[in-house]
């Protein structure tokens, strides 16, 4: 029996670009959310103004205040969507409790919803060729239309900023893979330790035949995109915890740490926080603290990243989140699939337009870190219901691989992306016999 040749794992050059999402230097000093909108509008308006001459050169650009009834023009501003069903914190104080509990819809859309465009000078209600279902609060667009006698703005055409410019991909000749996994939910009822162990064994090359091991050796990095652990809410709601339960809080984290340690021993791993992880809530979520991973953090292959997470691997640009930005769009707007939401965020050049309106976000005063300045080659979101992917091509030959990563604890699916050609495939693990 021939002794198999020792296989060497491939390497890829990695640079972490998360700096823009750090909030170490920032402080809560009474600042409000108006600054972030202001910065966003300022930045986007410059972009849109530059595009207007090639879009509708004959039309004048004005402000909401400068509108004249019946006169065709272009205005640029931030959209605001009036939503009847949007939950409000004031509802907690409503006078009467309704006798029938409200049915919680997955989505807060209502036929009466309407859009408003706002700039520094004022607001105007929009009508016409701009479907409220496709837009959300916080998006900056340019609109062509005219003011009606009722004081509304009748939209004829909408200009979005479009996909940002992209750096060219250098041609690679060998297969290198990145594995994405999200929603491990260690500690939850749906988590299956065996399934995750299979994934680890596969990636580390302890499973399968030589062929499979060869593929495994081409995996250069693993990205864990959020919701890795599940901590029972009763332990962390501020109430006193009985001493016998104290240690149970950290149990899932310890379990995760043991598993991650196996991974980081053989290849680099990026771990991003998600909405259920022990991290802050507002975007950008800061990296999970190293003290949580006493084992894995001793390896230099372990990197705890922010959410959103941005990095470069062998000149391929990656951008991704643990899913909150897309989930929020799903609550407040409509699209045929999650990939379309992703595509929209790229065209709006904004990763999370609903922040801060309906998505928690740090009150920045001088920047909006979620603006997308350059187009990534791969754009992923974690914790989705199912695996979906598409290659998006932009007008300037931009190519973006869009990936929805399903929750692993429910689907048993991890996603593998080939750096050479941006092809995508799944790794599926099942521990039941009939599958």
């Amino acid at each position: 029996m021939p002794v198999p040749m020792p296989m060497e794992r491939k390497q890829a050059s990695y640079s972490n670009l998360d700096e823009r999402y750090g909030i170490q230097g920032e402080k809560y000093q009474g600042q409000q959310y108006s600054h972030i909108y202001f910065t966003r509008l300022h930045h986007m308006r410059n972009l849109l103004h530059a595009l207007v001459p090639s879009w509708k050169p004959q039309l004048p650009v004005t402000t909401v205040l400068g509108l004249e009834e019946g006169k065709d023009c272009i205005i640029v501003g931030t959209l605001y969507k009036h939503m009847k069903l949007k939950p409000s914190i004031l509802d907690e104080y409503s006078k009467e409790r309704s006798a029938i509990p409200l049915v919680k819809p997955h989505n807060f859309m209502h036929p009466d919803d309407h859009l408003v465009l706002e700039d520094e000078s004022g607001r105007v209600t929009l009508a016409g060729a701009i479907p409220p279902a496709a837009f959300v609060t916080g998006v900056v667009v340019a609109l062509h239309g005219k003011e009606t006698s009722a004081g509304n703005f009748l939209v004829e055409d909408v200009l979005e900023a479009g996909l940002p410019p992209q750096t060219a991909l250098s041609c690679a000749d060998e297969d290198k893979y990145v594995v994405f996994v999200s929603g491990l939910s260690v500690g939850s009822g749906t988590f299956n330790p065996l399934q995750f162990q299979l994934l680890i064994d596969h990636i580390t090359g302890h499973l399968g035949d030589e062929n499979e091991q060869t593929i495994a050796s081409n995996i250069v990095r693993v990205v864990v995109a959020g919701n890795s652990v599940h901590i029972a809410p009763r332990f962390v709601n501020g109430q006193t915890v009985a001493s016998k339960d104290q240690s149970r809080i950290a149990e899932p984290i310890k379990e995760l740490d043991i598993m991650l340690t196996q991974l980081v021993a053989s290849l680099p791993v990026d771990i991003m926080p998600g909405c259920q992880d022990p991290a802050n809530f507002s975007l950008p979520q800061q990296p999970l603290h190293r003290c949580l991973f006493s084992g894995a953090s001793t390896y230099n292959t372990f990197s705890s990243c922010s959410n959103p997470h941005q990095f470069e691997l062998d000149s391929v640009q990656f951008l991704g989140t643990s899913g909150q930005n897309i989930d929020d769009l799903y609550k407040y707007s409509d699209a045929k699939d999650k990939l379309e939401f992703m595509e929209r965020t790229l065209r709006w050049r904004h990763l999370a337009p609903t922040a801060p309106n309906s998505l928690g976000c740090y009150p920045y005063t001088d920047k909006d870190p979620f603006l997308i300045e350059s187009c990534p080659h791969a754009y992923f979101v974690g914790n989705q219901d199912k695996y979906e992917t598409r290659l998006l091509e932009g007008p300037e030959k931009q190519k973006v691989r869009l990936i929805c990563i399903p929750r692993f604890s429910e689907s048993g699916i991890a996603v593998m992306l080939n750096l050479r050609n941006l092809e995508c495939s799944t790794l599926s693990f099942s521990t039941s016999f009939d599958a």
Partner: protein, 1105 residues
């Protein structure tokens, strides 16, 4: 603009909620020896009203036409053309020049003025006379002033027997002489114009003969009615008859109302002036587009039917002003300038205003959809506003607290600035606006001090007054009113910021203008939402009084107006017997059956008397004119079968002998209500529906106020015989119902259970039939109602309306239950008398009570409710309750020295003034406070503190105070019928053992304390500054970090939701939130979230070792 609590313009405090609830009837305890009369027990109509005419003489020094024009020309021409865009549509040519077209208009306001008799219309008269002015709007939106001539003031006295025509003329001369003596300053040629002998009958008491001679005394001017009445009441010597004092009849009726009654005009109806019957005014006195002169006998009053039930397109101006106050002072017109005035003008019936503008002092950046007019001086603003009023010519002026604040402020400010031409806001050319202090006192509404600003020809409608009259709310600030009715919070800008914004640049002033506009828009939206125009016009039509009376006067004028109209038809006259108001004449009030307190888990059927008191008056023919006083009863020798003796011992004749006019009025009101309700079912058009719904509501209220009118001892025509009879019948009926139910619905009578009356109140009886399903209870309820109704005189009727199940009866007038009208689904949770809205309770109490009732009644989960109470109490003791839930608010009505007893909020206001006079509350503000932990033995009033100060300094609150003084009573009330040992179980259980108190950061001792870092796990002091955990806790890092970060995460969620909500209310994403509305439930939370967030981040940062 809300009142109090804020404002660069702030208002005098809204008076406390009417103390006697707007209860319909009297409810003294059964068997109480001396129950209060209905007047004291909040009967409507029981108010003192000064009904005095005030003659206004036409100012002969009318500004010359060109002089008035000059006023305009001096002013900016650009402004003039700007304002001119909003003029009314031009008159059609034939109206503008000729008199050949019949003019019809809806009148809104009627007043009178003293001027020369019209030479053409009244060729035989001379000298000064009262000219009535009717202001109105045509269907096309033209404004009209119709001057009515020839109507003379008069009243009646009984004619002394044996007076012949000669005696009358002698009497006339004597009276004329006496009048001359007492009105020396007057230069009227003749005071008493005529004395006529007429055949009338008094309304008081049943009389056998049809009529008696009366003298109708016609005087020259309306004010002379009062002086002539005085002479006659005091006594006058008539030749041949000796000295005699007279009882006068109908001598206390306002002249305008007298005119309306005699011409059959009701408030807000349409009036026609036939072609050829009017003249165009020779000298134009008003700014109305059309000014006519006509005789009162030529007016055609249209009943509100068909075309004439519609509304004319009135112009409604809603406005709001902002003043730049000095720090720490209530804005005073003597010091503080008016800096902005926002105006919105809407056509009645249209959804959107057609004029939106704001006038600002100094430049202001443009605002979308709004005309921004900037001026350099205050004088220019005020004059521009005056010009706006004149050009737009509004029929109705609305706003929030305009009568007490905005209008007087503008006028007094103009006086201070010596702008004499400012107060020409009325429709009469030289008519200056007059400001008077008035006191309006009413049993129902309490005493109100207000300013009476007379703007001739324009109706003022102050939404604050309307709210205070019509709704019982915990707060009347514009913020809480709009939160209540429109479901949105209003942004509130603190007055210290208002001056800063004004002193900033044009952008900051724009910010202020946007805010001011919003405050001007909210009253209009409230007006629309609450259908005020429809409801008030209908009320005016039903009761026959001018619209302006509805807000400025009490209930009794409405009943009196109907009574006078009816009496006139019947040839009856009403004596002027003012009630003495001694309160001595008392009678027993309504019955309340003893409440059998408990928690009923079987359906309780409720049997209600429909319009009980009106029905009793109709059924037993109770009226002034059917009452037979005991002395008459013997004299008149009436057959006993045509008399009714009421349970209180009064005698009234039956309708066969004499039909009462009160029953007749009531019958008409109720029949009209039935018609209106039937029409409402048919009606499709929303505007028509609004009119009809307003009408049926007005009719119902009117019917119910008749009883109160008769019982108002200080009212216009009290008759306690009637009111005590009504309540005595009412008591009898409740007892009768109880007896019948308990006699008939028994197991002996073939029913499954014995019925039991568990509670009865004024007009309803709660019965437990014993049936266990709602359906059965409803069936039995209906059967009982039908059976018992059969035993009553018509139209008294017992109706089955609803079932309570389950039902928590605490004591009389305090109960809660689920309300069912159909067996499938309950309609609502109904709670009476359980303090969920009282404003001296903090929100915690309200939430706790509401939640407990919900758990008990809807979820039927008593253990759950108990657990909830325990958790809340534990949270309170552990300092985990949101501070905004603990805030108590009280209005500061006067300064500290004026309060006899030291009160918590007053003391706090004093203390805050010492800290920072700029932000301290001043008189008129509402003072929010929390009760803090203080030294042992500290007085309650020393323990109050500003919530913001508490937040900033970590001051511990006093949970015991909240436990004992706020939540314990309401809780025990609810739980005592349900739980044994409720007090012990709820208030003293193990959940009350752990207490946590925060350490104040400002107390004296803390200045000497040295801060030391403690271990985040066990609070042990650690030495190294860079460490987070002590050596003992080292192994628990992951766990402890999770907790810290979870805290941060929770706060971030809250922070985001709170601040984005405020952006939403403010209606802008790109501007900072300025709102400091302390009425807003999230104000303190927002502030706290900001502070907590900063602290929590610091904690988290300690982990970055």
């Amino acid at each position: 603009m809300s009142s109090g609590g804020r404002g660069g313009k702030r208002r005098a405090p809204p008076p406390p909620a009417p103390s006697g609830a707007a209860a319909k009837r009297a409810h003294p305890n059964p068997g109480t020896p001396q129950p209060p009369p209905p007047a004291a027990a909040a009967a409507p109509g029981a108010e003192e009203e000064d009904m005095m005419d005030e003659d206004v003489f036409l100012d002969e020094s009318i500004l010359a036409e060109d002089e008035a024009a000059l006023l305009m020309i001096q002013r900016d021409e650009a402004l003039a053309s700007r304002l001119a865009r909003w003029k009314r549509p031009a008159l059609p040519a034939d109206l503008a020049t000729g008199c050949s077209r019949t003019v019809a208009f809806q009148q809104l306001e009627i007043d009178y003025v003293i001027g020369e008799s019209h030479k053409e219309l009244l060729p035989n008269s001379s000298g000064p006379a009262a000219i009535l002015r009717i202001f109105g709007v045509t269907r096309e939106g033209h404004s009209i002033c119709c001057q009515v001539h020839g109507f003379e003031p008069y009243f009646y006295i009984g004619c002394p027997s044996g007076m012949g025509p000669d005696d009358i003329s002698r009497f006339h001369q004597t009276l004329e002489g006496r009048m001359k003596e007492s009105n020396r300053s007057s230069n009227v040629p003749r005071f008493v114009k005529r004395v006529e002998l007429v055949q009338k009958q008094t309304i008081m008491h049943y009389q056998t003969q049809q009529s008696q001679p009366f003298l109708k005394i016609v005087v020259a001017l309306p004010t002379m009615v009062a002086s002539c009445r005085g002479i006659l009441e005091r006594g006058i010597t008539i030749e041949g008859l000796g000295s005699k004092s007279f009882l006068t009849y109908e001598s206390n009726i306002l002249f305008a109302l007298r005119f309306m009654i005699d011409c059959n005009i009701v408030g807000g109806n349409w009036i026609g002036v036939p072609a050829g019957k009017y003249r165009k005014a020779a000298r134009v006195m008003s700014y109305c587009q059309l000014e006519l002169d006509c005789l009162y006998s030529d007016l055609v009053s249209h009943a509100a039917e068909g075309e004439y039930s519609k509304m004319a397109p009135f112009r409604i101006l809603s406005f709001d002003i902002e003043c730049a106050g000095r720090k720490g002072h209530f804005p005073e017109p003597t010091h503080d300038p008016v800096i902005q005035i926002a105006n919105l003008v809407t056509h009645q019936g249209e959804g959107q205003p057609f004029v939106r503008n704001v006038m600002t002092l100094k430049s202001c950046s443009p605002i979308v959809g709004v005309d921004v007019m900037s001026f350099d001086t205050e004088r220019d603003i005020l004059l521009a506003w005056r010009d706006l009023i004149r050009e737009v010519d509004p029929d109705i002026i609305i706003g929030y607290n305009i009568c007490k604040f905005d209008l007087p402020y503008l006028i007094e400010r103009a006086e201070v600035l010596k702008i004499t031409e400012f107060p020409l806001l009325g429709r009469i050319r030289n008519g200056r606006v007059r400001v008077r202090d008035t006191t309006f006192s009413s049993r129902q509404y309490g005493v109100r001090e207000s300013k009476d600003v007379t703007i001739e020809g324009r109706v003022q409608f102050d939404l604050l007054q309307a709210m205070q009259r019509d709704y019982k709310l915990s707060s009347y600030s514009l913020n809480s009113v709009s939160a209540h009715f429109l479901g949105e919070q209003k942004e509130d800008v603190h007055h210290s910021i208002i001056s800063d914004l004004q002193n900033g640049n044009s952008e900051t002033r724009r910010r202020l203008a946007v805010y001011c506009l919003k405050d001007a828009y909210l009253p209009q939206r409230l007006l629309d939402k609450l259908m005020y125009i429809y409801n008030y016009v209908e009320m005016a039509r039903v009761t026959g009084v001018p619209i302006s009376f509805l807000l400025s006067r009490g209930q009794s004028i409405k009943v009196l107006s109907q009574l006078l109209r009816k009496a006139k038809q019947k040839n009856l006259v009403i004596p002027n017997i003012k009630g003495q108001g001694s309160g001595q004449d008392t009678f027993e009030g309504a019955t309340v059956l003893e409440a059998r307190a408990g928690f009923y888990e079987k359906p309780i059927a409720t049997l209600d008397f429909a319009s009980l008191y009106p029905s009793i008056m109709m059924a037993y023919n109770l009226c002034y004119c059917t009452l037979v006083p005991p002395e008459d009863a013997r004299k008149l020798n009436l057959p006993p079968e045509s008399l009714n003796k009421t349970p209180s011992g009064e005698i009234f004749v039956k309708p066969e002998l004499q039909k009462g006019i009160l029953p007749e009025i009531l019958e008409e009101l109720l029949a009209a209500r039935k018609r209106a309700k039937a029409d409402l079912k048919e009606a499709k058009d929303p505007l028509e529906r609004a009119v009809l719904d307003g009408r049926q509501l007005a009719l119902k209220i009117s019917a119910n106020s008749v009883y109160g009118f008769t019982g108002a001892t200080v009212g216009q025509l009290p008759c306690l015989e009637i009111s005590s009879s009504v309540t005595s019948y009412g008591r009898q009926m409740i007892e009768h119902t109880k007896k019948l139910v308990e006699d008939k619905f028994t197991t002996v009578g073939g029913y499954e259970h014995n019925a039991e009356v568990i509670y009865g109140d004024t007009d309803s009886v709660m019965v437990q039939f014993g049936a266990s399903t709602i359906e059965d209870a409803m069936k039995l309820g209906r059967e009982a109602a039908d059976y018992i109704s059969g035993t009553f005189t018509k139209p008294i009727k017992l109706e089955f309306e609803k079932v309570y199940f389950p039902y928590l009866l605490i004591s009389k007038k305090r109960y809660a239950g689920l309300y069912w009208t159909n067996p499938e689904k309950f309609d609502k949770m109904d709670a009476k008398g359980i303090e969920t809205v009282r404003r001296d309770n903090c929100l915690l109490v309200k939430n706790l009570v509401t939640e407990c009732l919900h758990k008990i009644l809807v979820d039927r989960d008593i253990p759950g409710a108990v657990q909830y109470v325990k958790n809340t109490i534990s949270d309170l003791l552990m300092n985990r309750v949101d501070l905004s839930l603990l805030v108590i608010t009280k209005g500061l009505t006067k300064t500290g020295e004026d309060y006899a007893v030291k009160a918590a909020h007053v003391e706090l206001a004093e203390r805050m003034r010492k800290r920072d006079p700029a932000t301290a509350p001043t008189v008129g503000d509402r003072v929010p406070y929390v009760i803090i932990k203080a030294a042992k033995g500290a007085k309650a009033y020393e323990k109050s503190e500003d919530p913001i100060y508490v937040l900033d300094n970590n001051i511990p609150i006093d949970p015991q105070y909240y436990l004992e003084n706020q939540i314990s009573k309401p809780l025990l009330r609810i739980f005592e019928p349900i739980l044994k040992n409720a007090s012990k179980e709820l208030l003293h259980g193990s959940h009350t053992r752990s207490v946590s108190i925060s350490t104040p950061s400002n107390s004296g001792i803390m200045k000497f304390a040295k801060k030391q870092l403690t271990c985040l796990g066990c609070k042990a002091v650690i030495s190294g500054a860079s460490q987070t955990l002590c050596s003992h806790c080292k192994g628990r890092e992951a766990e402890l970090y999770c907790k810290t970060v979870a805290n941060v995460s929770d706060l971030e969620v809250l922070f985001g939701r709170l601040w984005t909500q405020c952006q939403e209310c403010q209606g802008s994403l790109h501007q900072d939130v300025l709102c400091t509305s302390r009425d807003c439930p999230i104000f303190y939370r927002r502030r706290k979230a900001q502070k907590d967030m900063a602290e929590a981040r610091l904690q988290l940062d300690r982990w970055d070792f």
